[in-house]
């Protein structure tokens, strides 16, 4: 090994490669940051005139774009996302718990399930829209309701929730499980008293990211018949609805200038919502220091 001082006078053989690599990384980072900044500035600038309390306080209006707001889309988004979470969280977490803690990893059935879930996570969201249309809207006759939207989005995020939850569970050291079993806990007690709580920060992070994905989806909802113009707040599971992405899509279709700046303002709103969810996720992640 060469003396550590040698590097100060003569350049190490790998020096050029190091520098090239370093600048390539910085460039890649720069492209990402600049794109994001440009996007944000453009949208905020375009939406600026409409970024006022009216956006939240008013309902959308076709005839009076200057007075229109996005209230029904905001409440609709909250309803849909809330219901999606209510369906997808317990189902996804329990499924992951079963797959990770109870199923025998060697069985052929288990391997089939593994592969299917991986594939489902990669299926384009519009395909879930087709599924939702066939099953929830038509077969279960839920029509264009919050319930149909929430169930469709729940299917969409289920594989993501299962995969991230399984990863979080897998990160819990085996010693924790063995410690619990050695104390006379059953496998079920071990799973829900020790493994699950220990994995909770990781699960929460994954779940929030999955939910924020659902909140930003427009394609599957368009397919199951979400409409852009809804001038009332949802009042139940079978109520009609619109969501922010749908509202944005609807407004951008309109050629009037007021609507394009309204759409930009709604995009800012959506970005703030997603940003808040993501910040929460990383806050949870950073707060949960590794304890093992």
């Amino acid at each position: 090994m060469s003396s550590p001082l040698a590097g100060r006078r003569t350049r190490r053989p790998g020096w050029i490669a190091d520098q090239v690599f370093r600048w390539a990384l910085l460039l890649a980072l720069g492209i990402g940051v600049i794109t994001l900044a440009t996007l944000l500035c453009t949208v905020v600038a375009a939406g600026w005139p409409r970024l006022n309390p009216d956006l939240i306080a008013h309902m959308p209006s076709i005839r009076f774009p200057e007075r229109a707001g996005a209230q029904s889309a905001i409440t609709g988004t909250l309803w849909v996302i809330g219901c999606t979470a209510l369906v997808a969280l317990p189902t996804g977490i329990l499924a992951a718990l079963y797959l990770e803690e109870f199923a025998r990893p060697t069985s052929r059935f288990q391997r089939l399930v593994d592969v299917s879930i991986q594939n489902l996570a990669a299926v384009p969201s519009i395909v879930y829209g087709i599924l939702g249309l066939a099953v929830f809207v038509r077969a279960l006759a839920l029509g264009q309701s919050i319930a149909a939207a929430a169930l469709t989005l729940a299917l969409l995020v289920l594989p993501i929730i299962i995969i991230t939850t399984r990863e979080a569970l897998r990160a819990v050291p085996r010693g924790i499980r063995e410690g619990s079993l050695a104390l006379g806990a059953t496998e079920w007690q071990t799973a829900y008293r020790q493994t699950l709580p220990a994995a909770l920060p990781g699960i929460a992070t994954g779940v929030i990211l999955a939910i924020s994905r659902a909140a930003g989806e427009a394609a599957p909802l368009l397919l199951i018949g979400a409409v852009g113009f809804i001038a009332f707040n949802p009042d139940g599971l079978l109520s009609g609805y619109t969501t922010l992405p749908i509202q944005v899509y609807d407004w951008t279709k309109d050629s009037r200038a007021e609507f394009s700046s309204l759409a930009a303002a709604a995009i800012v709103l959506l970005l703030i919502l997603l940003l808040a969810l993501n910040v929460t996720a990383s806050w949870i992640r950073s707060r949960a220091r590794r304890r093992w």
């Binding site: 990893p105 010693g175 063995e178 410690g179 079993l181 050695a182 104390l183 006379g184 220990a198 093992w292």
Partner: protein, 284 residues
């Protein structure tokens, strides 16, 4: 390892030799546990063959031998933790208080309550406080006891940790040092009043000071319960164990017990050349 510890060891050896002046005494104690002709497989691979060891009441038995010879596997058959590995199979008999613990009518949960275990890596429950960890076994078993404070103090004292944590019982267990965590885990195991404590290399991740503390704890505990300890540390076996069993696995062969008996015999007067080589650090 420091010279200081070696000096300590010599003192400890002398003390031990005095303490076990009549090794036959240990052999005459009634049996707490007994392994008879135990063989173990992982899938098709046999990793242990024909292991028979007696564990008299209130004795410390050390299991020694090179890595991979099946010590952990064996100790995990003693509280039926072994069977949780999907591919694992076992033959032979393990008796606790005279009864076969693998008999169909036996609930493994009861076995694990009576036969506690401490692992190589300290594994306190990270989402619980120090106090919560100590009481976790009681809660699981549904034992209704009102004297929780007393149990916490008693077991932490027995594990040699009470003075260090008595002012922060409600702190997260993860904040403790490795040595403290291991003693916490011992306290947790003691809280359910086990009759046997299995320890799989409990000190291998710890500093010498914590190690000595835990060894003291083990000697103290042996007055009440029966202890089985896997260790890679020869001095430790000499310091704490009444009996020692030497495991060995030849290349590609299942592990077996080469020699067993009073610790003083195994270390002072081994019958088998391989035992002599191993205890003198010539391999493993």
């Amino acid at each position: 390892m420091s010279t200081a510890e070696f000096e300590n060891t010599d003192v400890a050896v002398q003390e031990l030799e005095q303490a076990i002046a009549s090794p036959t005494l240990v052999q005459e104690r009634p049996l707490e546990m007994q392994a008879e002709d135990v063989s173990v497989w992982f899938g098709k691979r046999k990793v242990l063959e024909g292991v028979s060891i007696d564990f008299p009441k209130n004795t410390v038995t050390a299991l020694i031998g090179p890595s991979g010879c099946g010590k952990s596997t064996f100790i995990r058959t003693l509280n039926r933790l072994h069977e949780l590995i999907p591919s694992a199979a076992i033959a032979g008999t393990i008796r606790y208080e005279g009864k076969d613990i693998y008999a169909p009518e036996v609930d493994p949960v009861h076995i694990r309550l009576a036969i506690g275990m401490v692992f190589q890596k300290p594994n306190p429950f990270p989402s619980m406080t120090i106090r919560g960890n100590v009481l976790s076994g009681l809660k699981l078993s549904g034992m209704k006891r009102s004297d929780h404070d007393q149990i916490v103090e008693q077991t932490l004292t027995a594990a040699g940790l009470w003075n260090e944590v008595k002012d922060r019982l409600n702190h997260a267990a993860g904040d403790l040092s490795g040595g403290q965590q291991q003693r916490l885990v011992i306290a947790r195991a003691l809280a359910v009043n086990p009759h046997v404590l299995l320890m799989d290399e409990p000190c291998s991740a710890l500093d010498p000071a914590s190690t000595l503390k835990i060894e003291e704890t083990i000697r103290e505990l042996a007055k009440e319960i029966t202890i089985v300890i896997v260790t890679h540390n020869m001095q430790q076996a000499v310091r704490v164990a009444d009996n020692t069993a030497f495991f060995l696995a030849a290349e590609g062969e299942p592990g077996h017990v080469v020699e067993q008996g009073a610790t003083t015999e195994i270390f002072g007067n081994p019958k088998d050349q391989r035992t002599l080589d191993y205890v003198n650090g010539r391999f493993g």
